[in-house]
């Protein structure tokens, strides 16, 4: 037998489900999701933190899961593209991406959507320029950027309308 490869405990809550296992520390959160949990909605593009296809939420914040060791975020709440539907309905951001034709091949789309959901939480939504700047961590090789910004603007407008409705 070879030298035992080191492991370390990993405890997470992924899309509401508890996960616990001993993992090699070199396993990234992205590889845990895709290779061990079959959550393949989160994509591996560059695997170097440059493309944003692997974007997920950790404790509500958007991060690149290819640059996070799975063992290094004990008890974190991870949300992936599989975890954002609302009672089986598409998340409004998903629907807006469809309506605005915000993708062609679709490979960057899960990352774009997770990033866009966080963008709205952060409130970086005051202008088209601000949206573009704060979405710059997500690349789209098909060049669907105009549709992506349009989809995001649509959800912002929807939210504004909803909050006005509540206030009335």
């Amino acid at each position: 037998m070879n030298h035992a490869s080191p492991t370390a405990p990993c405890r997470l809550r992924i899309n509401g489900q508890h996960y616990a296992a001993d993992l090699p520390p070199s396993v990234t959160l992205l590889d845990l999701l895709r290779e061990r949990l079959d959550l393949t909605g989160t994509k591996k593009g560059c695997d170097h933190g440059q493309c944003g296809a692997c974007t997920v939420l950790i404790d509500g914040k958007r991060v690149k899961s290819c640059l996070v060791l799975a063992v290094s975020i004990p008890d974190a709440a991870v949300i992936t593209i599989e975890g954002i539907n609302q009672d089986g309905q598409l998340h409004p951001m998903q629907q807006a991406f469809i309506d605005a034709d915000a993708f062609q091949c679709g490979y960057c789309t899960p990352g774009q959507i997770m990033s866009a959901i966080a963008l709205l939480e952060e409130g970086h939504v005051h202008s088209r320029e601000e949206i573009r700047e704060f979405m710059s961590g997500n690349l789209c090789r098909c060049g669907a950027y105009n549709g992506i910004v349009e989809a995001i603007e649509h959800v912002i407008a929807q939210q504004d309308q909803d909050s006005k409705g509540e206030a009335a």
């Binding site: 080191p6 970086h124 320029e129 700047e133």
Partner: protein, 335 residues
């Protein structure tokens, strides 16, 4: 990525016990990438995130202490940073992407490695990665490489934006190591490559950056962080400038200036800053300041354009600061 053993100590004394094959992990946005590229091959990774170093708090003299584990995003959005050190918030927002800034830490920013293409490619010789093998960047594709502080052995830039603002602000780095605590001026923290470019900074084995102190300054709106790069966002700088001016009655009482993208470390020249003392802003003054801070620059095969670009960026940044119209990091139009 090669596997490694992993620990997450709860005390500094435990964390400081290292071998030469240990690497410290904070946000990991650079270290994990380097491990994937096989540039870093640690046998053990010591995760620092259980140490209590994520606070941002005021110092008695009106300055600010930034915890080493506070994220770049939290630091740039902190009310005290925005109110008292907007040039720092601006520099942080000019770097990386929102997802990276949510994870990357202040301490990690100081200790990131160069993004020289040759350093990142284990098939190429590189003195910084493999001491004594040679420098592929000299005479190579070196459009992005440094023109200041270079040596025969290395012309790689230090890539940080945040550290350019920290250098301008005369920040101090607080360290905890096996021999106790000490502080180092940020301007002295990073090393020139000289004959040993594999040593990036003055950290001793087992030493950890615990926090960064910012002394009180009074720039008001007289500051800017102006960054020129190959695309408008999420790219390392070709030339960047951090400026703060303490102004009174139309005169610059004291000028703070640092450059990124052109040096092997955040580039400051106190004599260039001193030229501004008690002078009114003027084209000739700012031209002299730019000339002085760029003195001694050496170009290689592809990077001569930096020497044309840099004085223009410096002068424009000084005018932005003098006029109190800092560069927006959202609207990229340069005024």
């Amino acid at each position: 990525m090669r596997n490694f053993s992993y620990s997450r100590p709860g005390t500094f004394d435990e964390a400081c016990r290292v071998t030469e094959h240990t690497r410290f992990l904070a946000g990991g946005t650079n270290l994990i990438d380097l491990m994937k590229s096989d540039v870093e091959r640690p046998a053990h990774v010591t995760d620092l995130k259980s140490l209590s170093m994520n606070q941002i708090e005021e110092l008695p003299d009106g300055g600010l202490r930034l915890g080493a584990l506070a994220t770049n995003a939290d630091t740039s959005a902190h009310p005290l940073v925005i109110r008292h050190f907007p040039v720092l918030a601006s520099a942080i927002l000019a770097g990386a992407s929102p997802q990276i800034r949510n994870v990357a830490t202040n301490g990690g920013n100081l200790n990131q490695r160069t993004r020289c293409h040759y350093f990142y490619d284990p098939d190429m010789v590189c003195n910084k990665r493999s001491p004594g093998t040679g420098c592929s960047a000299r005479g190579g594709r070196n459009r992005i490489m440094a023109v200041l502080g270079t040596s025969e052995a290395c012309i790689a830039t230090f890539p940080s934006d945040m550290c350019v603002a920290l250098a301008a602000l005369n920040a101090t780095v607080n360290l905890h190591g096996p021999k106790g605590e000490r502080s180092v001026a940020l301007r002295d923290y990073h090393r020139l490559p000289g004959e040993a470019p594999w040593i990036d900074n003055v950290l001793q084995p087992g030493e950890i950056v615990t926090s960064i102190d910012l002394p009180s300054v009074s720039f008001g709106e007289h500051y800017t962080y102006l960054k020129i790069r190959d695309r408008l966002s999420f790219a390392f700088s070709i030339v960047s400038v951090a400026v703060g001016l303490e102004m009174e009655s139309g005169l610059i009482r004291r000028g703070y200036l640092a450059l990124g993208g052109v040096g092997t470390k955040p580039w400051c020249v106190p004599e260039a800053e001193a030229l501004m003392k008690d002078k009114p802003p003027s084209h000739s003054l700012f031209r002299d300041v730019a000339e002085r801070i760029l003195e001694g620059a050496v170009v290689d095969r592809d990077n001569a354009a930096k020497l044309k670009l840099a004085p223009r960026v410096i002068e424009r940044a000084l005018w932005q600061a003098a006029e109190g119209t800092p560069q927006s990091q959202t609207c990229k139009t340069i005024r």
